[in-house]
């Protein structure tokens, strides 16, 4: 009180009415009570929150506001007050005049009279019903989100397991068909006519193809399981390794491969080998009639590296540039360009696992450029 400097407030009467005005205008319920819990003052905030007028409440017990089942709560509070304790942020429930129950946050302090004797308590109550409801709603939404995330993770890993098991188990019948068709072909040659041999040939080719597709599915499903965390990786390494794996087709096709300086990125190195190997392998495979020329480079664009694998091959027609990244999507007949169509699907998965994108620009007859982006991570 020593800080008060307003001339009107020097007079004790003005001071009292000034303080009373503050109390009256508060949004919070400010209630005075004696040590027996009998209400001695009741502001407008209390009227608004509890629905009772000051006239109705002054002289009556504060226990009028408690909710059945709260038992000794008021007594406990009063006992603590008698011991000079302050009670803060005490959350409880109170009943309004209309019977509705509200959530209240209470601060209760002792009131001292002459000789520092405790004569009563002032209770400041804030209606937190809405805030509680909002918090509960938020908690529910969080719980729902957590449950959904858990479910998604579980169904994801179940799906991976399924793909893994299914593709393993599918290999068995495919192997049996292939082997027995071959037995028919070899051991029963004399008994078979030209047509029968041709048909067996188709069956053998089909079974072989099925086996390759099953093996490819297995490889694709393995991608789903993250084997190691991303680590700083110099991309030159994976490119060299990819080229070493491809050296036969590089030599056979007389391919000329140019590699620009490449950056260090956050990556899973074996997956990058797979990525580069599939892209470079495609550039060589779809070269057309001229020896393939492949150019690998990388360029920084904003917060990502954009890699490109450029070739001079047959190119890709406009309508197919999205679908080529889907599993088992192919654009050419088996006898011209054999394969199951898993390569670019694997590339897409690998790039997405690195939080990047993959796309292609191409002009039929004039080659294609496959681009993929990898984010520039602060950790790299």
């Amino acid at each position: 009180m020593a800080e008060l400097r307003h001339p009107d407030l020097v007079d004790p009467a003005s001071l009292r009415s000034y303080l009373a005005a503050i109390v009256e205008s508060s949004d919070d319920a400010i209630i005075g009570k004696d040590l027996d819990g009998i209400i001695t003052s009741w502001n407008r905030g209390a009227e608004r929150i509890y629905g009772y007028t000051a006239t109705e409440m002054i002289g009556r017990s504060i226990t009028l506001l408690t909710v059945p089942g709260q038992g000794e709560e008021i007594e406990v509070i009063l006992t603590r007050i008698k011991n000079s304790e302050r009670i803060e942020h005490y959350e409880t429930k109170r009943r309004r005049r209309d019977g509705s129950i509200i959530d209240i946050s209470l601060a209760v302090s002792p009131i001292k009279g002459d000789n520092d004797r405790i004569v009563g308590a002032s209770a400041i109550g804030r209606d937190i019903t809405e805030a509680k409801r909002a918090a509960a709603g938020l908690q529910r939404a969080l719980d729902d989100l957590r449950r959904l995330t858990d479910e998604l993770a579980r169904s994801n890993s179940e799906l991976q397991r399924f793909a893994h098991v299914a593709s393993h188990d599918l290999q068995e019948p495919a192997r049996t068909v292939a082997t027995y068709c071959e037995l028919l072909e070899h051991r029963c040659k004399g008994q078979l006519d030209e047509k029968a041999r041709e048909w067996i040939g188709y069956a053998v080719a089909g079974a072989r193809r099925m086996r390759t597709m099953v093996a490819d599915t297995l490889e694709y499903s393995r991608l789903e399981t993250r084997t190691r965390p991303l680590a700083p990786t110099d991309c030159a390494g994976p490119v060299v390794e990819a080229l070493a794996n491809l050296h036969l087709s590089v030599e056979e096709s007389l391919a000329e491969v140019r590699v620009d300086p490449l950056p260090v990125v956050m990556a899973n190195a074996p997956r990058l080998v797979q990525l580069f190997q599939n892209l470079i392998g495609n550039a060589i495979k779809y070269a057309g009639d001229t020896p393939p020329r492949v150019h690998i480079s990388a360029e920084r664009r904003d917060d990502e590296w954009v890699f490109s694998v450029r070739d001079n091959g047959i190119g890709i027609e406009l309508g197919h540039r999205e679908q080529i990244f889907d599993v088992f999507q192919r654009l050419h007949p088996q006898d011209r360009y054999p394969g199951t169509g898993i390569g670019l699907a694997i590339c897409k998965r690998v790039v997405e696992q690195h939080r990047g994108r993959i796309w292609v620009e191409s002009e039929p007859g004039n080659g294609s450029v496959f681009y993929f982006s990898l984010p520039i991570d602060a950790g790299a």
Binding site: H168, D169, Q171, E172, R175, T176, A178, T179, Y180, E182, L183, H186, R211
Partner: protein, 152 residues
């Protein structure tokens, strides 16, 4: 060669395999490799163990010189059979060759952890089956010494 067994005495092979196509491939391959053999086939894991333990109806079963064990079997699967064999004092010295479709590293490792004597992924094509059985013959019946089998 260290062969202590007269070459005319047939070897006893137990094949635990539920796929008749693979049983047939095994026979076709064995017929091609000049190895006198008796092939005993158990169609699931329980029957395989009953044969090894000479339980009904296999009271008179011979002790196999080599067991070929598929992993995916009805009822008790191959891993469980392998675990029982390799923890049974009377059976653990019987060489068990896992012969399965799976090439999964997980399956390979699990089999060796259970003391499989070797692990083979079933090949594709009859020629490779025959080659495989020729190498099984050369290794298990010509190169290595096997524990003497009582009662043969």
């Amino acid at each position: 060669m260290n062969d202590s067994r007269p070459s005319t005495t047939p070897v006893n092979l137990l094949l635990v395999e539920d796929n008749p196509a693979d049983v047939e491939l095994t026979r076709l391959s064995l017929d091609e490799i000049q190895l006198p053999y008796r092939l005993h086939v158990a169609q699931d894991g329980d029957e395989g163990l009953a044969f090894l333990k000479r339980q009904a109806p296999h009271e008179g079963a011979p002790r196999p010189d080599l067991t070929l064990l598929d992993l995916s079997l009805p009822r008790r699967d191959g891993r469980a059979v392998l675990a029982v064999i390799k923890s049974d004092e009377n059976l653990k010295d019987i060489p068990v060759v896992v012969l399965t479709t799976s090439s999964s590293q997980r399956d390979v490792l699990a089999a060796y952890k259970l003391h499989a004597n070797s692990y083979i992924t079933k090949p594709i094509g009859i020629d490779r089956w025959i080659t495989l059985f020729r190498s099984i013959r050369d290794f298990w019946f010509k190169s290595v010494r096997l524990p003497a089998v009582e009662g043969r």
